[in-house]
């Protein structure tokens, strides 16, 4: 930038003073009016309301909550529900997006066309409409529990939601999980060493896989085989056992992941296209297979292009989870900025807390993705 001359510098100072004074005056006017309005309407201020009894129930909670709990507890329930639906949505959208993004570049004409149709359809229809469609039109039309749609005999979909197996936190479950984790860690270590030493054969891969899975399976079979998981089963007119994912949750996750998945697919596609064609050709010349080229040559380089926009897709998915307010999934906006705000009337505090929470979530996701980005970027630079 050009250095301002003294006359310009004076004008700059004056401009800034005027803008600052205007902003401050506006803020002061707002604060004054708000204080007047609040006292006029007899609305308390401050954060004391967080300790008062909420008095309303919530249909889906991850922690203990009842009508006798406090508003603070209700806030926590909403926050956890937001985090849950965002995390599930991010994982599902990423898997879907990567698959479809690769499929769009497939040499298979039909696969590429279908992927394009998916992307162009889901990107150009409002998310809220999609959520309504899944929740009201699809899940709302599901059969009664007795006529549930069964997925592999362990998951059941009906008009009360999706019934899934639930892990029982018994000693047997923990032992099996610990063995699985230890086995997997050992297998990964062995496989890495085999790769480094250049003896990564198919037999060794099968051996590693067995090392990861067999101890856990054995523990599950010998130990307490039945108590590890609680499976849903029909009892009378409804299901018993397992865990139920309410239709609001399922509809929201479907909407969020299908919508964001379409954006991630485009992101992945442009990332892969950004990798120099010569890279693919030289990898092919070295005799790598198509799968190896994608996994070892293209994706590591494409990640550098993919990660920054991917971060913003994750952020928008998290923020879009607030659309749950329209179908009644009890996340932060619906519980806190909806019910709590209506009951207490403390709009300023409630909206401020809500916004602060979203800002913090955004900062955390952006921070984590920046760390990851630094790693993928450095791997690229080390070449």
């Amino acid at each position: 930038m050009r250095r301002p001359r003294s006359a310009e510098r004076l004008r700059d100072a004056a401009t800034q003073a005027v803008v600052l004074a205007g902003a401050l005056a506006l803020a002061a006017w707002f604060v004054g009016n708000t204080l007047d309005n609040l006292s006029e309407r007899g609305i308390a201020s401050g954060f004391g309301f967080l300790d008062s009894t909420a008095g309303f129930s919530i249909i889906f909670t991850l922690i203990d909550y009842s009508e006798l709990s406090t508003y603070g507890r209700a806030f926590l329930v909403g926050l956890l529900n937001t985090l849950l639906v965002s995390a599930v949505g991010i994982v599902a959208a990423t898997i879907l997006g990567v698959l479809v993004g690769v499929a769009r570049l497939s040499t298979n004409w039909l696969v590429a066309r279908l992927a394009t149709v998916y992307v162009e359809t889901f990107r150009n229809i409002p998310l809220l409409l999609q959520i309504f469609f899944w929740y009201f039109a699809v899940l709302g039309a599901m059969p009664q529990p007795r006529a549930s749609l069964s997925l592999f005999g362990v998951m059941f979909l009906n008009n009360r939601g999706l019934f899934v197996p639930k892990p029982l936190l018994t000693p047997g479950f923990w032992i099996a999980s610990a063995l699985l984790a230890a086995g997997t860690a050992a297998a990964v270590l062995l496989w890495r060493r085999a790769r480094v030493r250049g003896v990564a054969t198919r037999a060794r891969a099968i051996f590693c896989l067995a090392l990861a899975l067999i101890p856990a399976a054995a523990a599950a079979l010998i130990g307490e085989p039945v108590t590890g998981w609680s499976l849903p089963h029909l009892a009378g007119f409804s299901f018993e056992g397992g865990a139920v994912l309410i239709p609001e949750f399922v509809g929201l996750v479907l909407g969020l992941s299908l919508y964001t998945g379409a954006y991630i697919a485009e992101n992945v596609r442009s990332g892969i296209l950004a990798v120099d064609k010569g890279q693919r050709e030289s990898a092919a010349a070295l005799g790598l297979s198509r799968g190896q080229i994608l996994r070892l040559v293209i994706l590591p380089q494409a990640m550098r292009v993919i990660v920054p926009p991917l971060t913003s897709h994750y952020l928008s998915l998290t923020k879009n989870s607030s659309l749950a307010a329209a179908i009644g999934y009890p996340e932060l906006v619906s519980v806190f900025a909806g019910t709590v705000l209506n009951q207490t009337g403390q709009a300023v505090e409630v909206i401020a807390i809500t916004m602060a929470v979203y800002l913090s979530i955004s900062l955390v996701i952006a921070g984590a993705m920046n760390l990851y980005n630094r790693r993928v970027a450095r791997i690229g630079d080390e070449r």
Binding site: V19, N33, N124, L129, A337, A347
Partner: protein
């Protein structure tokens, strides 16, 4: 075998059955299509009911388009009084009349329609919509349907674009106060969901204003949407500003251009050309997000469809309603994205004879 069938066979083998895995994928996709498309078509068209006026006319297993037909007026205009609906039609016809010369490359004088569009048209449109000389007033509470969606989107775009440019310039300003305020606004808004901004506009704005002063609900929503998207617009425009090399500023200074001339004649025209895809992307996002106004009680296209499918008289026909609304939004968004591609091509040709490669 003729040459054509040989060619088709070769094409099929190369594009659909190149390897066993590829063949399996093809068969999986084909079975997906066979499973999904015929039933969908049967429901949408073959078994669907088109004729009639009431629920009783929907007998088949297919879609009940009678429902959409009966409610079409509401879906398009909301609760706008029927005898006055010509005013909306007229306003959109005028818009088309002004916009077409701008979009067709061969029309020579673009200045006049452009100036009319940004100065006279908003006033005329407002008088037609709300009520002007010799016309009855139609309160905004009666506005709805596609009409309201287009009003929110149009005003949102028209306001957020210039405000976004200002914010982007503010963020790159050398004046610390302006820069700090711009950065704070942009980052705050981009960190929160649109719903919270709309909630703020609907519950907190009345608190901010003196006792007795009320602001129209639609206006509050418009302010919320426009300011929210101005922050996103600002980031897109900032990308374009950053792409302008320092030499452009230096060259402008060497020609004796002042700060303002440099900005208007050198920097902005280039920067905005760079960011057309991003700007249209924000427009599309804004258009889709107009649906959120239904959460604060306005009846946009989706809101009015949602109200209609909840009507006991037509219960059970929500898929028809969603398909109609989805098709409406899809057409607008798809058209916008194609328009952006066309604009991008045209503007890149007008300045650079060489083909621009998007990647690398």
């Amino acid at each position: 075998m003729t040459g054509a069938t040989m060619g088709a066979l070769r094409w099929t083998r190369r594009n659909l059955f190149a390897s066993p895995l590829n063949g399996a994928l093809t068969i999986a996709c084909l079975s997906l299509i066979v499973l999904a498309v015929p039933p969908a078509l049967t429901w949408l068209v073959l078994d669907a009911n088109f004729a009639g006026t009431s629920r009783a006319d929907c007998t088949g297993d297919g879609a009940c388009w009678v429902f959409v037909k009966e409610r079409l007026g509401q879906f398009l205009y909301g609760f706008y009084p029927e005898p006055e609906r010509w005013r909306i039609d007229l306003a959109f016809a005028l818009l088309a009349l002004l916009a077409v010369p701008l979009l067709v490359p061969r029309v020579p004088n673009k200045k006049l329609p452009a100036v009319l569009l940004v100065t006279v048209y908003p006033v005329v449109a407002f008088m037609l919509f709300h009520g002007g000389p010799g016309m009855d007033v139609v309160e905004t509470a009666k506005w709805g349907g596609l009409f309201l969606t287009l009003v929110v989107a149009g005003v949102g775009i028209a306001v957020s674009f210039p405000v976004g440019i200002l914010l982007a310039l503010g963020r790159r300003s050398h004046m610390p106060v302006i820069k700090a305020l711009s950065v704070a606004f942009i980052e705050l808004v981009r960190g929160v969901p649109l719903i919270t901004v709309l909630f703020m506009a609907s519950v907190m704005l009345p608190l901010f204003l003196p006792e007795g002063v009320t602001v129209d609900k639609l206006l509050r929503a418009l302010v919320g949407v426009a300011l929210f998207y101005a922050a996103y617009m600002a980031e897109v425009v900032r990308g374009g500003l950053q792409a302008i090399p320092q030499s452009q500023y230096d060259a402008a200074a060497a020609l004796g251009f002042g700060r303002r001339q440099t900005l208007y004649l050198v920097i902005l025209p280039q920067a905005l050309r760079h960011v057309i895809p991003g700007v249209v992307g924000v427009f599309i996002a804004l258009l889709k997000d107009t649906t959120l106004v239904l959460i604060i009680g306005l009846f946009d296209l989706l809101g009015i469809v949602q109200a209609a499918v909840s009507d006991p008289q037509w219960i059970g026909y929500n898929v028809e309603g969603y398909v109609f609304a989805g098709l409406g939004f899809w057409l607008f968004c798809f058209a916008l994205s194609r328009l952006s591609q066309a604009l991008e091509r045209r503007l890149s040709h007008s300045t650079q004879p060489a083909k621009i490669t998007t990647f690398r």
